[in-house]
Symmetry: C2
Subunit: 579 residues, 2 copies
């Protein structure tokens, strides 16, 4: 589940503006026109003056954070951009938990993708369809429209691409736990949030029906959240507020029977946050009467009970009325199939290099939750790095030689810089000294083994980027910029020196800038972990949350709507109608 996607635009703009993209560009230049498979495009090609090469076709799959940010930023006068997604809108997913209880209305967090396209001049095409197969060999994607029932044929069509940008996101991960798909709600799409809202109301209406016994009423009003991550925790908090602030008044006879339980496999909730936030959240939930079952793993879900396992206590079952499953993300079938085709069959997500290009596959980039960028390890390239730095081919490196190439190395392998920062070393010399003992800087000279030793631990800092809106949006923005500067970068490459070949990389590799993360905990209290490990908890943070989430809305319309929803909630409360 993507979460806390603030500072997005700002983040994206704040980048260093010299990414590398050379390999991709070489391939781009070689790639041909491709068969134009449909009426619209055919007309366009015919209209082009003869002799002028048609624009390259960029096909974007998905309109989530990654896809939409890419579309917003791509220069549509240089490319023939085609967007394909089963949803004709972009959704501000960090507010999804608020939608589940009616704090914010679903329409307030969505923006039609065509509106975004129209604002850019309207040259981009959009098709509401789902890509169900990618054919990288023939540069085609197979799409299916699932609209209505009376479409001619089966609603399938083919689209050619020159470059493909995969941004289809992820699906909920059930870890193949039996019964989850059948009985649990997920919280990834706007429709999920709407369903949860209806389901919560159903439980309350059901629990008031005349001929139920107390046990059955209690079961019906037991809301279980599986997964103590930010989404699950925020939903539990929202639900608690909804019950205590709104529903208690409307269902006075059953308000005392309501119970909310959060089941988490790990020892604590919100483990991706600082321990102080985890602790605060756990204490607040305890005060609120939200039960925390940490250290429990759900092993089975039936229509009325959830069975879980604990190392100490073994298996136990609890009856429940409604369950929300929010334990992380899994891979979509179309991506699984694509990964098999390109030899990534045993991975959990599509692997890309630091320029967000899919490994083993020409002209295909992948951004957002469907991909993981695998950072090149220093130890894999250690010989090349040594040779690259050893300008005089002496077989040893002087401090000066290292310092000459250090910037390029730090850009290509950001873990090096991170390692120095983490160890509070001001300089590579400190690193060398740490491995070699205290020697004089001028006399310092390293052979390959000593160089290896000095850098032995830096790769431990290579980490996968989190599956958040922040990362996806920054990737979309980065990739669009690379496409836009393709020509310029040919003459003026922006990237670091190549280690193995001559010349520079065309673009700087993608580098993620973390702007912090919020964890709303209900009762107008929010915790935030800001850059530099600043922790902020309480009412004032809730107001920071309000202002940042309002400012980060994708359009003035959604901004106005979200703010008016919050105001409406303050004045009138949340609506409990079952629609």
């Amino acid at each position: 589940m993507r979460f806390a996607a603030f500072f997005l635009d700002g983040a994206a703009r704040a980048y260093r503006h010299r990414p590398t993209f050379s390999k991709l560009v070489l391939v781009f230049a070689a790639s041909g026109g491709g068969l134009v498979a449909y009426a619209d495009a055919r007309a366009e090609v015919a209209a082009e003056s003869p002799g002028v090469a048609p624009k390259k076709k960029v096909v974007v799959l998905g309109t989530g954070w990654a896809g939409t940010t890419f579309v917003k930023n791509i220069d549509s006068s240089s490319y023939d951009v085609q967007v394909i997604s089963p949803r004709n809108y972009f959704a501000f997913t960090p507010l999804l938990p608020s939608v589940t209880c009616g704090t914010v209305e679903p329409r307030s967090i969505v923006e039609p993708i065509r509106k975004i396209i129209t604002k850019k001049g309207g040259e981009i095409k959009f098709w509401e369809a789902e890509c169900f197969k990618i054919d990288p060999e023939n540069k085609k994607v197979y799409c299916r429209s699932d609209i209505g029932t009376n479409l001619e044929g089966n609603g399938e069509f083919l689209v050619d691409y020159d470059y493909l940008v995969i941004a289809v996101g992820a699906r909920a991960n059930t870890f193949n736990t039996p019964g989850v798909v059948e009985h649990c709600h997920f919280l990834k799409e706007v429709e999920d949030a709407q369903k949860i809202r209806r389901s919560v109301m159903d439980c309350f209406e059901r629990a008031t029906l005349p001929d139920l016994d107390e046990e059955e009423r209690k079961r019906t009003l037991h809301f279980v959240v599986v997964g103590g991550g930010p989404t699950g925790v925020e939903f539990a908090a929202e639900l608690h507020d909804f019950v205590s602030e709104d529903l208690a008044k409307l269902y006075p006879t059953i308000q005392d029977l309501v119970k909310i339980t959060v089941i988490e496999h790990g020892e604590h909730i919100l483990t991706m946050f600082d321990k102080r936030i985890s602790k605060f959240a756990e204490e607040k939930f305890q005060r609120d009467g939200i039960e925390l079952k940490t250290g429990f793993k759900v092993v089975k879900v039936s229509d009325k009970t959830i069975t879980m396992e604990n190392a100490l206590h073994g298996e136990s079952s609890v009856p429940y009325g409604m369950a929300v499953w929010s334990t992380g993300i899994g891979t979509r079938p179309v991506i699984l199939d694509f990964m098999k085709q390109i030899g990534q069959g045993n991975r959990r997500a599509l692997a890309t290099d630091e320029w967000l290009r899919v490994r083993e596959c020409e002209n295909v980039c992948a951004i957002g939750d469907c991909a993981t960028m695998s950072q090149r390890k220093v130890m894999e390239d250690i010989m090349e790095i040594f040779r690259f730095a050893d300008k005089d081919n002496s077989g040893t490196l002087t401090v000066k030689e290292i310092q000459d190439v250090l910037e390029d190395i730090c850009i290509r392998y950001p873990q090096v810089e991170l390692y120095l920062k983490n160890k509070q070393m001001s300089d590579i010399v400190d690193l060398i000294k740490a491995s070699k003992g205290d020697v004089k800087k001028e006399a310092l000279e390293l052979n390959i083994e000593e160089f290896k030793n000095a850098l032995a631990n830096v790769d431990s800092l290579v980490k996968n980027l989190p599956a958040t809106a922040q990362v996806a949006a920054q990737q979309g923005n980065y990739l669009a910029r690379c496409f836009n500067r393709m020509k310029d970068s040919e003459e003026k490459p922006e990237g670091p020196q190549r280690i193995t070949k001559m010349g520079r990389h065309r673009f700087l590799p993608f580098s993620y800038k973390h702007f912090g993360q919020f964890a709303p905990l209900g009762g107008e209290q929010t915790a935030a972990q800001l850059p530099g490990d600043w922790i902020s908890i309480g009412h004032s943070t809730q107001w920071l949350w309000y202002s940042i989430y309002a400012s980060k809305q994708v359009s003035w319309r959604t901004r106005a709507l979200v703010i008016s929803d919050w105001t409406r909630r303050f004045i009138f409360g949340r609506d409990s109608s079952r629609i």
Copy 2:
């Protein structure tokens, strides 16, 4: 479809305050306590001090205009009121056509019934369930909750009543036309409006898909409205505005292919309005490019074509993308079954008398679209009326004798007053003169035959009330008032003198006051037919519409939301996201 339900509260309050309700009250007094069938009520009965009779149970079926107005106005301290409805909210249905295109959001026109109950002190019980059988013999209703799937048993339960108020409304009437249920949208519920909105967006998204030919695109963008009544016309107008104001910009390549057709069986649309309004609407639709197929009857609907019949041209078929069926109202199955039980099997709606009591059935009242109030005819009672007026038993009536009872007769048979007004007669004497020739007032004396002749035509003015929100709300309000004054009216009956028996009727019969009706025609133009046959058409009427609809909202919350929706539409347009 209920429509144009303005002036509701005002209307209800403006009533003459002396309705008759005597028969019902007699029965009420005799009726016993009934078996208490469920936990809640059992507890309550136990808590009552011994010797004090428990409150009479009033069960209300439905939370539409009639049911909700009744619940809002009933004195819940005197009755044990239980409300049963499959919808836990009240919907302001006159704004449903606005919801179909996103001018107004669905949540802005609904108010949870529990909120209305809570405002009254919370003594009323509500159950979200559907009544599927009424057993008038045992004074029970059979209900079924359709919430979720994992309720114990089949979700059925029994509720006893002392008095039953049926206000379940009507369903769409397909006239058994084949294919309608399968392929057409209706527009009676909030869910219908939401589905139509999604379906409109589907048609636009489908029509832009790459490999369709022009024919298929045109078919997909052909929107058909069956029924030229207020609802159908308003929907067609809303859709036209949505397309021209919002969608044309977002779907520039297909905007010229859109076509809207209204099919109406009669010779004109909006026939319930003044001819000037009909004409204005037809001309405006022509200017807007909305095709009117008047004089056509739809005989079959398939997934892609609508077949219609015309006296002159015979049968013809048109391809279509989406169709909305809005041709009037039909009877719900539960009412059909109930009517069979009480010997009304061959009627189209539940017949009630002028006090809204179901004929042939004790303690059961019916209000709103599920019922028709059948006005007693003068000619049926002419002998009794004659005898009632002939105080001196002379076998003839003098003018004075007639004038002495005229008020009571006009209240009991409102058609008499209406007839005099229509013929511009100031007095009953004019009526007698008209039938008997010009004689002197003092010398005038009538035997039974002459009396019959004089009143021969008055019954032609007996008309069924329209199935509108206005009527339903006035009935709900009237009935609640009768219940509230039950005791008082025993001592001080409010109604007219009884014709056949001694004494007065307890309450005045229900009398509908028409406050006018609006027909929004799109493009910020509305037509209105106000009382006294005032006609108002144009932009100013649209603003009258805005202000009256805003003022008539059921709560401050919905009022604020509806106004903010209108404002949002003016500033940002309507949202085209498919959620």
